[in-house]
Amino acid sequence: MKRIKAWIDKLEKFYPPGYAYRWELAVTTGLILAAVCFSLRFLPRLDNAVSGLYYYDSAAALQLVPNVTMEPFHRLVRGSWQFFWLPALSQGAMAVSHYCYYYRDTRSIYLMRRLPQKKLLPRSCLAAPLLCLGLTALVMAVLWLFYLGCYFLAVPPQCLPSL
């Protein structure tokens, strides 16, 4: 737990100074988790599609439907990414919120624009949203690989569609 806290503290440097970044991180994490949960719909869909490959014969034994072909992976997985737009799009709003922070309560934008380091202002606005976008893409890639693995494990080789 301490290690996670220390890791979260390290993220502070990607946000504007004094910004309530923990709240924003929690929102992003929540949105990504919600998108992952929604995306898990793939598993029952896969189960359903695999079930369609089989039938029970007269002896109540499970048999493959002759010459049957499984629905292609890309078609089966297509609807699983819908909710990932939420964490991705929210990053744009968060970048705007970071910039607006410099006008909230005081005009700390004056200080930021006076810094000798030219890139600090855009970095403080964009770094965290870009990191979160990268994290979202990574989660999607990991899920995609996981789903692909499940697909190949669950579908009998003779039923795999040709590429």
Partner: protein, 246 residues
Amino acid sequence: MLEIKNICKSYRENPLQQVQALKNVSLQLAQGEIVGLFGENGAGKTTLLKAILGYLPFQGEILLDGRRIDKGNIARLSFATCEHSFFPNLSPGQHADFYRMHFGSFRSERFHALMEFFSLPMDKRLKAYSTGQKNQFEVILSLCQGADYILMDEPFAGNDVFNREDFYKVLLGILEPSETILLSTHLIQEVEHFIGRAVLLHQGTILGDTTVLALEEQGMSLMDYVRETYQYQGNRVSRALTMSKL
């Protein structure tokens, strides 16, 4: 030397009306000067300071020791504004760390001395400071950045008179000969003994520019000079009152 050459700045108040905030303003500030910038509301004081700092696009040229102001020399300028430019969620200690990280010439000793003098809590977030304390801290930061040119825009708005007096004394005591101050304020009489030069702005143009020494030689107070330059009619209130009675 900070050279302001023929600065023009206009705002579009609405699609049909353009307001000229600065009209061919030229000014030179030598290092070590303490200059008061005076003018009525809307005279262009804040616009001039913001133009110097590069916050606003303008026509003309501003040079710092012969060089345009950019990221390479911007650290030689600091700014204290009544709008405040600190981070409200950070404490003074965190600000000191931030300034130290980004301004190589940050004056740590001066910072701690001023914080102690004004009895400002070091660990409290600035959000929780009173308006007067926030003003004090804003000025402290501008004085401790390590800048050669310190621009101040109504920095004491909201501070009581004793507090302001303290500040003028402290400023005179701590400033080094290389430090220049351009102070925009309405408190003409108060700063008379603190500044060495007065620049008067009126409707975007420089109406007067004189040294306090020259005024003393003429036996004139700064307030008299301001009244004379602006052609202030002292009897206009009584005239207006008489007119209203008629």
